[in-house]
Structures are given as C-alpha cells and as structure tokens.
C-alpha cells in the first residue's frame, strides 16, 4: 500500500465535495485506493455511498457544482491530478483510463451504426482514418464476442447483452490500462450477466487490462474480484483481497452487508441493516457507521484511522 510506483493506479486522499442549496455534500471524502496492474478491484456499497462519484472523480468528469476537488491520483507513478484539463482530456481520459458508465447500453445513439460509435474513440484519440478505425473496431468486437457484421447494425437491432458488449468494446478499443465499469450488469438477465462476467474475465486475461468494478450486486461482483473495497457514506471503510474478504469481512459494515446477501447454495437467513446511511450534507464527526453499528463503543465518536491488518486495511477502532 506504500510505494505508489508498483501500482497502476494509486489514489491518495481524494475528495470531491459538491455545493448544494443546503450545504456541502461530501460525496467522496478522503479516499485511498491502490490498484496493481492486471487486477480488478470491486467497489461495493449501498446506493448514495459515493461509488459512482469516485469513478467520476478519478476520471475528472465533474459537474458544475463542485465545491472542492483535491487529493492525488497516480497513474503509473505520474500524478494525473497535476495535469491541466486539456492534457488530461487528450492523454488520460479514455486513452489510458476508460469507463463504462451506468446504463450506457441504453445511451447508444439510435441513428448511428454501432460500429461507427465504437470507432469514435479510436479516431479521436489515435487519429485513425475511417477504414483503419473500422479494423480496430472489428478487433475490439472479437475480444468481446460481437460478430463482425453487427458493426453495421443500429443499437435497436441488438439485444441488451449485445449492446452491453458493444459498450465494453468501445471502452477497450484504444486499449487503455484501466477500465472503470459502473454497474455493467445490473439491468441484464442472469444468463446474460454470467456471459458478460465471463467476457470480462477473458479480456482481463488476454489484454491484461485492469478493472475497477463498481456495483451493489455483491454476488456477481465476486466473479471478477481480485480485491474488494467497501464504501460507506463517501469513505472507503475496508480494502482487502477478495479471498480473505469474502471469507471474513472485518469492518462491522462489511460484515452486515455480506450478511444481507441472500445465498442460493446455503440456507442462511439474510439479515438487513437497521437504520439509514447518514446524510452526506453533515456526516457524523466520528465513525460514519457508528449509529447503525452493533459493536459501537466510546472511541467511535472520533474519526477512526485506516488500520493495517495484514494485507488488508480497515477503518474501524475495533482493530486498533
């Protein structure tokens, strides 16, 4: 977790706060995250915990009402937060880090053939001509399992699963180092979901791409996870490798979150977490989960530090 150079991506103390009518929303607050090359980290958490905002903060896709945006993001050791917007757009966004936004498969342009839409990043970022870019498209389609003749189709002529593959092809076409996937399977059927996860596993092996997978579907996320990061109320409360995380989550919130997942193959009654996440307008001073925590004690009124537990990091006083 220390030497930033070994990691493909390393995020330090990233903050993204928004201005709202009633105050400042601390959507992403003090986030540290490391991602080694050719690994996949899944970011899980409830809706509204800042998962998607974290992705946007990494890619610097900011809305107009930003109150503060600070911290550092190292990509291959280079601090990309120091770059100006234009350089960032030209050399980093999509070129090195691409993204599959939430529900993107429904956002394909209905009047442009999908092949041309997928070619667009290649033409813009690589300066390729139309025919050359089409070759890249077909290559990218081959990686994601879309038949070549689908390039001439329109979005409405494709099924949901195929559209999602097309979107993933678009994210992969310029062969970025890192792909951020925001809920890539949430609107899909079980079999299609399994297909897409298989595809991502294959791409990860063949192209050696790294992934950040943002999802609230914990069961499906385990299909790709090398590492797991749990977010709660704008902060990452636990990071660790998938094997030990799924075996024994450390943070009380992770523990309760895992207990709420209904199991198909084991007869364990799922539990729910009482209460609601705190408002990000005025989050509690100490641990943000304290009000819902079954292990709460005196110290929880103070901000917990990130505590190293072997190769895992947990933000909870219990492990001091």
């Amino acid at each position: 977790m220390n030497n930033g150079n070994a990691n493909l991506l390393s995020v330090r103390d990233l903050r993204l706060h928004f201005r709202a009518t009633r105050g400042v929303v601390q959507a992403v607050d003090c986030v540290d995250l490391d991602l080694p090359r050719n690994r996949a980290v899944v970011v899980i958490g409830e809706s509204g915990c800042g998962k998607s905002t974290l992705a946007k903060a990494i890619l610097r896709l900011l809305p107009r009402n930003v109150h503060s945006y600070s911290g550092s993001v190292f990509l291959n050791g280079q601090d990309i937060m120091a770059l100006d917007d234009e350089t960032f757009r030209q050399t980093i966004r999509w070129r090195r880090i691409s993204m599959v936004p939430q529900a993107a498969m429904n956002a394909l342009n209905p009047v442009v053939r999908v092949g041309e839409q997928v070619a667009e990043p290649a033409r813009l970022h690589m300066g390729l001509g139309r025919t050359e870019a089409m070759e890249w498209v077909l290559q990218s389609f081959a990686h994601v399992g879309v038949p070549p003749d689908f390039a001439h189709r329109y979005a409405f002529e494709l099924s949901g699963g195929m559209r999602q593959r097309v979107i993933i092809a678009m994210a992969l076409i310029v062969q970025p180092d890192l792909v951020i996937l925001d809920e890539p399977t949430s609107a899909l059927d079980v079999l299609t979901q399994a297909n897409i996860m298989n595809l991502l596993k294959r791409v990860k092996k063949e192209l050696e791409t790294s992934f950040i997978l943002i999802t609230h579907d914990i069961a499906t996320s385990s299909e790709l996870a090398d590492d797991v990061a749990v977010m709660y109320a704008g902060q990452i409360v636990e990071v660790g490798d998938a094997a030990s995380f799924f075996a024994k989550p450390l943070h009380p919130y992770s523990y309760k979150l895992m207990a709420s997942v209904p199991r198909l193959r084991a007869d364990i009654q799922p539990e729910f977490i009482t209460g609601q996440p705190p408002s990000l307008l005025d989050p509690p001073k100490g641990c943000r989960f304290a009000d819902r925590c079954h292990e709460r004690f005196d110290k929880c009124d103070q901000e917990p530090p990130a505590i190293q537990q072997g190769r895992r990091i947990v933000k909870c006083w219990l492990y001091e």
């Binding site: 949901g160 069961a219 385990s222 299909e223 996870a225 997942v261 199991r263 198909l264 977490i273």
Partner: protein, 360 residues
C-alpha cells in the same frame, strides 16, 4: 382462435397436489392462458402474433406465496398484466374464487381490483411525484367509496403500521422524493394493502433496492403474507431471494412454464436444463468465482413471433435429441408429487435416449 400449440393440457399442470386442504376453492386458477399480441404491417395488415404467454396453467391457493422466475421477455409481465385485468387474454381463462375474469363487468371488475394488490418494480416511478403520502393512500379509499374521513384515517394508520412507517405524522406529509428507496417501496406496499386484498402481485419488488434494504422489504412482504393469509405472486429474475420468500416456484421460458415445484425441491433438485442453466449462472459471493468461467448455454431466447418447433429451449439445450425435442412439444411430466417438468428427458415412456441421468 385456432391454435395448434396448446399442447400443455391444463389438467397435467393445474392438477392441484393433495393439500388444497381446507375445502376452499383455489383463490386464483390460470387455465391454459394465452396472451398474444398482434403484429401489424403498415398499420392494418396482419403480420403474425407475439406469443408472450402461450399455454400457461397454474393455481394459487389462499395464503400461498408463489414465485415466477424467468428472463426478461419470457412473458412474466404479460402474465401479470392478464392477472391484474389489464390485458385481455387471447384464449384460456383466469378464475378468481371460481369466477371467470372475462365475465366480470363494471362494478364486479372494480370489486376484483380491490381484491388484487399490485406492487410495482420501480417505487419512485410508481408513486405520483405531486402527491404526498397521505394523498397517495387516500386515493384508493376515495375511489372505492369510503367517504367517512375518520374511517379513511383509521385505514391509512393501519396500513402505515403494517409497513412499519411510524410515526405516521412524520411520513404522511412527505412527498415521494423525500423518502429513501426502501421507504418508497413501503408506501407502494401500503397502497397495495390498503383495500385489504386477497392477492398481491409483486413485480420484481426489490430489484431496484440495495441489498441491505432488499431483505427488509422481502421480510415485510413475507410477514404480511402470513399474517393476512394473503396470496402473493412474486415475479423475479433473482433465484437467490426466492428461497427466503416463496413456497412454490415456477420457471418460465419463452412464454411457457418449463418447471414447477416447491422451492426447496426446485433448488435442491432442479430438473429442466433451463433451470439448471439459470442456477449455474447465478453466483454466491465467493472469491473462487473469479477463477472459473461460468457455463452459459449458447444463443439467446427465441423470438416469440416464430418460436422454435417442439421444445422452445431445444436450440440451446445440451441434451436436445433430434427428431424428438425439435418436433414435439413436451408435456409437463410429473416427476414428483408437486414437481412438474416440461422436458422429454423426464418422459415416463423413455423416448429420450439420454434420459434424466444425463443431467445429474
């Protein structure tokens, strides 16, 4: 309508297993239901039918929770709309306490609608944004002629108690956007329950909610079902929640029921190749998942305009046998007391050479 594909005989599927017990007739009985939509070319020429529901039969007993599982486009929603009386069945019948839905007129239909509650998938979309909770819950009472404000107040209070939105005063003046997703879904459930229905149709009631809230809502529905002797049809694509919520389950594929059983029976001893594929594709959180590829049957669900001959799953089925599966439609064979499978491998006459052993 002349139609040759209705080979699923109602008796074989619908024959209730011993245990309809208490002498009451089934609450709801779906008999060989077909919901077809006509396709038109240039606005007036006939261009075929979309066979969204094609020969479905099942019964719902009083107080029973029944889950309907299938992929999108398999006809779940068309079936549900027919049950709610929003779609007119092309053929077949829906009996509610022995009375055919197609025979209900005017006030009788209104009576039926008070007996059947509906919980929508997307709570925010289902609640009018310009009404506060009080107004949302008052509306069905006004429509159904409850004029006494005190009576309405009492009923609203009771409904809010049931969905555990207390204290009432805090929630009544709130508009939907001021509530969390879980609270919105509670309001939807309260609205469905306020006329004290006998049947609740829940269309993916938790798919838009977070994992932690999901369980809470499912428990709430389960509690209501038990305490009110309420029958619930729970439509979902998520097999993992079914176990904790339903008694019986049926799996739909391309407009037809392929397997029907008690929940533990279906999850413990799945038989139809499609059910097996669904189960194999669903994951439990486990780090080992990342190491292996999931097995998924090739291809995609068939067009409902020109469904394949014979068993509709045969083009994707690893056990399909030429000359049988692609020609004849399998009957729902009874493999156990309450377990029915529409697959030739379970044919008691053994016409499928692979036999059921090939699966396990």
């Amino acid at each position: 309508m002349t139609d040759a594909t209705t080979s699923a005989t109602p008796e074989t599927v619908a024959a209730a297993p011993a245990g309809s017990g208490n002498g009451r007739p089934d609450l709801l009985s779906i008999q060989d239901l077909h919901v077809w939509y006509e396709l038109k070319r240039w606005g007036f020429m006939h261009a075929g039918f979309v066979r969204a529901v094609d020969g479905v039969s099942f019964d719902v007993k009083h107080g029973e929770a029944l889950a309907c599982v299938g992929e999108s486009g398999c006809g779940k929603t068309s079936l549900m709309k027919a049950i709610l009386g929003l779609n007119r069945p092309t053929s077949g019948d829906i009996l509610f306490e022995g009375r055919s839905l197609s025979m209900l007129r005017g006030n009788e239909m209104r009576w039926y609608r008070t007996k059947v509650g509906y919980v929508q998938q997307d709570p925010f979309g289902a609640l009018p944004t310009f009404m506060d909770v009080r107004r949302i819950l008052t509306e069905p009472l006004i429509i159904n002629g409850i004029r006494d404000p005190e009576e309405r107040q009492r009923r609203i209070g009771k409904a809010l108690d049931e969905v555990k939105l207390t204290p009432h005063a805090e929630f009544l003046p709130k508009f939907p956007h001021m509530l969390s997703g879980g609270q919105q879904q509670r309001v939807v459930i309260a609205r469905a329950m306020i006329l004290e229905p006998m049947l609740l149709v829940a269309d993916e009631p938790v798919s838009m909610l977070d994992a932690s809230v999901r369980v809470e809502i499912l428990r709430l529905l389960r509690g209501l079902q038990v305490s009110h002797d309420l029958a619930v049809i729970y439509i979902t694509h998520d097999l993992s929640t079914v176990r904790y919520f339903s008694d019986h389950i049926f799996v739909m594929y391309a407009g037809q029921i392929v397997e029907m059983a008690r929940v533990d029976d279906l999850l413990g001893n799945p038989q139809h190749p499609y059910t097996l594929a669904l189960l194999a594709a669903s994951s439990d959180p486990d780090a080992n998942n990342a190491l292996v590829m999931r097995e998924v049957p090739p291809g995609e669900p068939p067009s409902l305009v020109t469904p394949p001959e014979g068993c509709r799953f045969h083009p994707r089925c690893p056990h399909a046998q030429a000359g049988l599966c692609d020609v004849e439609v399998p009957d729902p064979f009874r493999t156990d007391e309450a377990h029915r499978v529409a697959c030739w491998m379970y044919d008691p006459e053994g016409r499928h050479t692979g036999g059921a052993d090939a699966v396990s």
